[in-house]
């Protein structure tokens, strides 16, 4: 796994993009839960 990522650096970048989107998604999810409580 580590060696594969070391050889194919573009996947490291993709992993980073994935991390950012996951983070933003979790934030949205939390807003959604707050809304649900209000409803």
């Amino acid at each position: 796994m580590y060696e594969f990522l070391e050889q194919n650096a573009i996947y490291v970048v993709m992993l980073i993009v994935l991390m950012i989107w996951t983070g933003l998604f979790i934030y949205l999810f939390r807003i959604d839960r707050q809304l649900k409580e209000l409803e």
């Binding site: 490291v12 970048v13 993009v17 991390m19 950012i20």
Partner: protein, 315 residues
């Protein structure tokens, strides 16, 4: 409604462009790589100037020019495909210092009109700049906005300003965590370890601590007005010391990020290897995340107003 869809496409398309766009070097890059490695191949692009002919060893020898206009001989193992129509190629190649010609290992595609420059030591990993740098800038922006609304609260004593300040700090914390994790994952592959205590890593770590302390302080005070003014004061004090990290420390201490004290060939934040295309993509990405931040702020504010209304009705 329309701008939200536009925003989605803006960020999605820019991300795709950033990932898909090939990295392409020049003859100068090839020569630079050849100085420290004889076998290392890098992607490069060139236009064919003379279609050449068969070489002595059964391969194919043609002449081409790179984007800087420098010419060289290109040696292929066999006659390249589509040579009669091809205007140029993107190839994986190295410079042979004995034969004084470019040794092509593989044709990656046609000459790409848009490509990012080859940066020694970073290569494909240079693309992190489009994702990681906006995150760290947004961290600072969110922090400044939070401080700004803190000041507004102290001036006008409007609790809504305090809530804006807190929401902005929350978003800043999110961006800060993202910047730290993405950065340290990248550092593992580029610098060999997840954390190196480079000045910029230190400063993002301090911002993380400041955000943590800010929320710890907020949760420790019950009275709304007191919480608002004290957290505003704390964020201003913290903001007064943050410039020491972001602007002064990295200049004094040697570091790994571009713009450190021992890095001579670059500007304040970027590596010298960035060209106009990279800058445009980076700034557009930054704009996208800025709008996303404003949108998330607005959603939280609407949520807050509904909550206040509910509380009023309940009373």
């Amino acid at each position: 409604m329309w701008w939200k869809i536009l925003l989605f496409f803006w960020i999605a398309v820019l991300s795709a462009v950033a990932i898909v766009t090939p990295i392409a070097g020049t003859l100068g890059d090839l020569a630079g790589v050849a100085q420290w490695s004889e076998t290392k191949m890098i992607p490069m692009r060139f236009t064919v100037t003379d279609r050449g002919g068969a070489a002595d060893d059964g391969g194919w020898l043609l002449r081409g020019a790179d984007e800087d206009g420098r010419e060289a001989d290109f040696h292929f193992a066999t006659r390249p495909d589509g040579l009669d129509q091809a205007e140029g190629y993107l190839v994986l190649a190295r410079y042979d210092t004995e034969e004084h010609r470019v040794e092509v290992a593989e044709i990656l595609g046609d000459y790409p009109a848009f490509a990012f420059p080859f940066i020694p030591g970073l290569e494909e990993r240079a693309k992190i700049i489009f994702f990681h740098v906006p995150m760290s800038w947004m961290t600072v922006v969110a922090f400044l906005v939070s401080m700004w609304f803190g000041i507004q609260y102290l001036r006008k004593k409007d609790l809504e300003d305090d809530f804006r300040s807190a929401v902005s700090a929350g978003l800043g914390l999110l961006f800060c965590i993202l910047a730290t994790t993405t950065g340290s994952l990248w550092a593992k592959f580029n610098w060999g370890s997840f954390w190196n205590w480079d000045p910029r890593q230190t400063s993002i770590f301090v911002l993380l601590l400041v955000y943590g302390a800010y929320f710890a302080l907020r949760s420790a005070i019950e009275v709304d007005e007191k919480r608002a003014s004290l957290s505003a004061v704390y964020s201003i004090i913290a903001a007064a010391t943050v410039p020491f990290f972001i602007f002064i420390m990295p200049r004094i201490m040697p570091g790994l990020h571009p713009g450190s004290a021992d890095d001579t060939g670059s500007g304040p934040v970027f590596s010298s290897g960035m060209d106009a295309g990279m800058r445009v993509v980076l700034y557009s990405m930054l704009l996208g995340y800025l709008v996303l931040y404003a949108w998330l702020m607005r959603i939280q504010m609407r949520l807050h107003r509904i909550k206040l209304k509910r509380a009023d009705v309940a009373l």
